[in-house]
Subunit: 483 residues, 4 copies
Amino acid sequence: MKTREEYIESMRNMHFELYMFGERVTNLVDHPIIKPTMNCMAATYELAEEGKFPQYQDVMTATSHLTGKKINRFCHIHQSAEDLVKKSKMGRLLGAYTGSCFQRCVGMDALNALSIVTYNIDQKYGTEYNKRFLKYLQYIQDEDLVCCGAMTDAKGDRNLRPAEQPDPDQYLHVVEEKPDGIVVSGAKLHQTGAVNSHEIIAMPTRAMREEDKDYAISFALPADAKGIIYIYGRQSCDTRKVDSPNMDVGNVLYGGQECMVVFDNVFVPWEGVFMYKEWDFAYELVEGFASYHRQSYACKSGIGNVIVGICQLLAEYQGIAKASHVKDKIIEMIQLNETMMSCSLACAHEGHKEPSGTYMVNTLLANVSKLNVTRFPYEIAKLAQEIAGGGLVTLPSEKDLKSSKVGDYVAKYLKGAEGVPVENRIRAMRLIEDLTMGLGAVCYLTESLHGAGSPMAQKIMIGRRIDMDKMKNAAKRLCGIKP
Amino acid sequence: MKTREEYIESMRNMHFELYMFGERVTNLVDHPIIKPTMNCMAATYELAEEGKFPQYQDVMTATSHLTGKKINRFCHIHQSAEDLVKKSKMGRLLGAYTGSCFQRCVGMDALNALSIVTYNIDQKYGTEYNKRFLKYLQYIQDEDLVCCGAMTDAKGDRNLRPAEQPDPDQYLHVVEEKPDGIVVSGAKLHQTGAVNSHEIIAMPTRAMREEDKDYAISFALPADAKGIIYIYGRQSCDTRKVDSPNMDVGNVLYGGQECMVVFDNVFVPWEGVFMYKEWDFAYELVEGFASYHRQSYACKSGIGNVIVGICQLLAEYQGIAKASHVKDKIIEMIQLNETMMSCSLACAHEGHKEPSGTYMVNTLLANVSKLNVTRFPYEIAKLAQEIAGGGLVTLPSEKDLKSSKVGDYVAKYLKGAEGVPVENRIRAMRLIEDLTMGLGAVCYLTESLHGAGSPMAQKIMIGRRIDMDKMKNAAKRLCGIKP
Amino acid sequence: MKTREEYIESMRNMHFELYMFGERVTNLVDHPIIKPTMNCMAATYELAEEGKFPQYQDVMTATSHLTGKKINRFCHIHQSAEDLVKKSKMGRLLGAYTGSCFQRCVGMDALNALSIVTYNIDQKYGTEYNKRFLKYLQYIQDEDLVCCGAMTDAKGDRNLRPAEQPDPDQYLHVVEEKPDGIVVSGAKLHQTGAVNSHEIIAMPTRAMREEDKDYAISFALPADAKGIIYIYGRQSCDTRKVDSPNMDVGNVLYGGQECMVVFDNVFVPWEGVFMYKEWDFAYELVEGFASYHRQSYACKSGIGNVIVGICQLLAEYQGIAKASHVKDKIIEMIQLNETMMSCSLACAHEGHKEPSGTYMVNTLLANVSKLNVTRFPYEIAKLAQEIAGGGLVTLPSEKDLKSSKVGDYVAKYLKGAEGVPVENRIRAMRLIEDLTMGLGAVCYLTESLHGAGSPMAQKIMIGRRIDMDKMKNAAKRLCGIKP
Amino acid sequence: MKTREEYIESMRNMHFELYMFGERVTNLVDHPIIKPTMNCMAATYELAEEGKFPQYQDVMTATSHLTGKKINRFCHIHQSAEDLVKKSKMGRLLGAYTGSCFQRCVGMDALNALSIVTYNIDQKYGTEYNKRFLKYLQYIQDEDLVCCGAMTDAKGDRNLRPAEQPDPDQYLHVVEEKPDGIVVSGAKLHQTGAVNSHEIIAMPTRAMREEDKDYAISFALPADAKGIIYIYGRQSCDTRKVDSPNMDVGNVLYGGQECMVVFDNVFVPWEGVFMYKEWDFAYELVEGFASYHRQSYACKSGIGNVIVGICQLLAEYQGIAKASHVKDKIIEMIQLNETMMSCSLACAHEGHKEPSGTYMVNTLLANVSKLNVTRFPYEIAKLAQEIAGGGLVTLPSEKDLKSSKVGDYVAKYLKGAEGVPVENRIRAMRLIEDLTMGLGAVCYLTESLHGAGSPMAQKIMIGRRIDMDKMKNAAKRLCGIKP
């Protein structure tokens, strides 16, 4: 297992073709906008370091079912419901530790979904995807690598299927088959943690029909393979990391990252191909990945810890922590936050074993869990802004506080309760600003809404997974309607 | 274990002093208002009958840790987190089976709480309550009895503590100590399933101080002991059970029940006394019982099954099941319903072992779970009324439908989709009326709100159980505030 | 103008063919279930009595634009935005006075809508409907009569248009044309105040196409005309008015009423026909009536007064009125209630003059107003139940309170704050029960939801009435998109 | 009346002592962060220009009751309820025109409140404040000036009254009385439009007692008077205006502004003093100003137009405008937006005349109106993010779109529906980003929450303004409780 430092060092050796603000970025590791996101990914290594955090070993590490070695849980294939539960708890732990999207769950969810689907494809078609996949998995586990799980295609005209698109690249697809592999083109959007990853794993984004079979592909590649181009997404307040990296940025340690990832005639060797035109398994992979990934949003309960904590703290700084309406708001934030966590735990505890041996969450409850995550963080953020007060959006800058001209005024008039340094009050407000309308809001709010599928995606799956006949029959009996 | 019929027969032998509408009721078992509530309690026996419902044995029965015999789970002391999970599932199963409050969980929760607290009192004071309690428990298990858990006192002036009340009876208390037992007076309000029970178990309703020690008592008695008077509570639409017991009543099989229970100088032998003036354990018993009981509201997810099922059915009857707004409402009902269930499951799965060996739910999550139950059924009921349409409150009576004068008009103009008998449509609407504003609403709505403690009670406990320092520290680190 | 007593006397002379519980009802005026609803209608006369309520003259009466005489505002055609505002205020006044649906607004709204549409039809087709209508209107004004506005048809298969229904009676239609009038058949459902009315005014329930023209009819008739059959709708707790008309019924004075109204080959003389096959005006009449009627839901803010008042009162009785969470709930109830009222006022103030001279509300805002009414009463009712506590559904009956056997127990254990008669506390709880799950809930909740059209009907009209191009253009300019 | 250009020119002549990011700013008019805010203020002049916008004359201008001349409505004292209504409509018009806080209403509300309170003080104390005020008012009207209304003090320890603060400057107060005027010290926080104003009008921030009388002061000064120091507040994404002023900034034309305003021993001549130690009128001024200012939030319905429009547009660009869930969300946004507007209209229409002749809004409804504004924009913003999709927070920058290296990729993979330029789609998303988490969110969300007082301030005033006795009496009568 890699240490935090070893991970960062390993990133120095990657050769991404990355663009940001129209320019090629070469030294990613030290780029002020990328660095906090890399530190955030690094936290998934750091908390697994036995020497540093012995108390988290149980949650952060697991025993490989392939090699029996201790591995980072993010590389693990869930072998029990207990594993699934630990995954939820790991998400919350890291969410609370980073106050951000730590970006590594996508790859874990992709690996687990592939462990099931490659097995099932082999059962039906006599292929050897699973064997190939397990070899790949062992490499990932042994080297303790980050995989970027890439699913969302550009989609072009939403009313057309993949094969019907005027521009075939609107869904990632195979453009050429060669003896030693395939050539693919297309793009994956909104890719979390893309240039903090060692590997990239592509999956189809939707159910496919036979005519779409060129689009029914899944494969893994080094993330800096030739022909993969990354374009960095803007985030609210992104450049504050450059010009005011200290107080004004709110979360002074961590951040998240999304890229547009373009595959421009990229070659994939056969050993990295895990699905190839088995269109009838595309939806299974989508649903499997989506269900795991919806469970993963337990991380938002971790960020919830941070937002509850900072609101309580700020209320104390402002001398209003005992006001009944403040207490009520704090409790409400906890209520929403723990409800989210409970749902993630429930879908894990109620998991089951797939034919491949992998444990899968209860998919109904995983979708219920995520659908709550598309709602509650917005309510929590609103409550946080209520507690914070209007200063949230009118605070002078750190430079004003530290200015010889007006610093004394700022300090004098932003003083809170007795004994509280004004800087603390400002830092607390900036963290709330960050989480509700800045960089942090990107992952706490909008990503909660659309990540792992927008609300409608969860609603559709909930509608499919519910046993409606059972419910109708229960009702019929009670009101005397004959079966 | 008793069968459904044996239970009902056993009730014939009880000699309750019961009043309803100002009159003494003698034959409870055949009284049209009480009968559906007794049938509902009887369902807790019926579903445990191996011959009838082999598929429910795992959920409905357990192995006594005292005798090793198979017992009804309602008499069981939880020996594992798995037991707690099965308890939640049993609640949902019965909620769906009865569409009502089946009334037996209160006693189960009282027994489990007492199994912990009697042990802890003994540890501190060298008493023998636990031994006494276990003897009583074995009797309950062997005879498969229903216990009514009695907690809520009248409370008089809310601003005064028990010992300060001008009328000491506002909290149940000991009025005399005798060689062979104690004499108690007071009342317990809102007692669910009171006259469907074999036994009654009294507990204090709040934390006590030393001066309140006469009020810090817990004991068990036969429910028809001398001096206990029951006054039956009115419910919305209660007399429809008398005058229109068929279609108009909605739920034609089951119902719930609450009584005011007066203890007028009742004698309790020592062998039934489980707490006697150990005021410092009163709150522990309250919190233990409340936490278990808040978990028990999983039953409302069972009623949720019924309300979702009947809405889907009625939408089909009315030919609107495919309308997108109807589908969206149904999914929303499921979302809310499964969120409630998930929370109940989570607090069970995350349970822990108490010194006595009993498993206790995660109290934070149990309160979170119940607080959701105080909200979501109201939203679900509103959605159900939206789907049902205005006919819900303007439907002619069953007698009109069956009348030779106007029956044909009613049938003609209430006809729904092709092939659906008009009676089915009416029955479906009546069940929704029942669950949202009739007898069923009493237990689906108001009881969800106030049963096991009103929302403020849950909020207070959530505030106590959260680890706020952990949250504040997580936040401080991220925004650079020194610890 | 009639007095309250003259109105009731006039009702004695009506010869309705009414059925309830499968039986013909002859003496409606003294029937315990109907009487409170008639008293409620009578309140619309009573508050207009100058001698009794001089303070309400401005709101309750108007000057006829036909005759210049003082008339009851319910018979008035709105001549200004101020008239529309007074209409909203009259609704709230009566809602607060009766705590119920007073049933008379439907006819007022029908008259006003017809005053516009008959004029417009005449303009297009050279007919004389408006003249005929004004003659009828003068009769209504002079005699101070109640009109039942009848719109909602049975509708049969929702996926078929009127002319496509297998059973033509699923929409009210003309079956025969005679020299002196027409013969109609069909039914109108959910007719509020039906057997408290002197006249009935039928209108189409939806937009029509040419093939539906037999269904595009509007007419007025005496409510007890030959061939009209009324079937009384059941309401939650309806029979409590019979068996416990005093305390247990909650609202001891008033109630609402809905009937199924069957037209079985009813003859309508030409002088009562206001639309006859002008199918292209059907939607205009529907929209006009609906918009007026959606404004009318200001009455629910009046009931809101009652529910806010009773909650405050009960909180005082229970000694919890100063608790911050109680105060917060009360404020929230007011907030929701006044928001509803504000919207009704706004659509009135923003009214405009139609070609006929009649003032029409702002239809966009009228729909917005009603859509809030489909939501907020449910929230208010939930808050009321929160304040009331669980006693709401477990209270013993009035007969228990007055019983020599258990009356003392009931009085002792339901005692509230010092000096408050226990009867008052019970009465307050019963009124909350009534308004949230009993008779009152029928009109405060379900009628708020579905009366004047279900939420989807308002949403559709809002979508039609918004000027989306204006909004898109405003947005385009700001973000630099070329027009 | 000034034109847009004359206003901007007049700003060049102001000599503010302004600091931003710790540096003195001299050329405000051309500063990239300030310029959009000044343009926004300028819109209040532009829309009043008869030659440019004849259609808005009625709303944007008024006739001075002092001089009979046409003036900008922002300088007008409301002479009728109709004036109040036009004020609400002016707010919405400008909100829709700028998509931002246009900052000029604060001064208008201060002037109107002072017109009432100076009159009332004179009535009680025989002072001549009103005469002095009217002279000042005429100057403002004649010169068409912007006034910054300054109310919110720093407040120090929230649990202490002004006179009890260890640091007296925590509330603005008089430090010295001179023959020709007074010297004041303190600060006003969150001052909207501060350095876009010609004048500043200070008012007390709360009720005062006699011991606080040095704090009970109100006065007007040129905004660049000696001793007034401005410190510019940071806003989410503020520096995007500098580095990406074109597409990425969302709203490419306008923005809002807040400053901390320090009064460091500032001299105020007597002719600008409108309240001086009349502590018993401090609350009246606060309430009057607050009520007017709460009405002013009609502007947010104008921004609502923009957000509804951009969501509809983006849905069309993305080819999803006909999806039922999208239509439903758009309608919901309209519903919330029009409800806010209706409440602002209602409090205006229901206004009344004060003794001074000025019209005051209905204060209950003004508070109800604002309390909705603290809620609905958050719901609307959430819906907007739902419609926008995840691209909102992962979009590459404008520079990427225009880059020769990756511009083609960006254009190819962000292509929306046929025929829609990709730039339009990006611009639409950026505007939604702006309004929900960027610069626009500052005024659309947080300012809606805390501007004109936080929600608790409105709740308190609602509690005071409701006639609870009337409500209790209505309830008592209905349930038979004796008065």
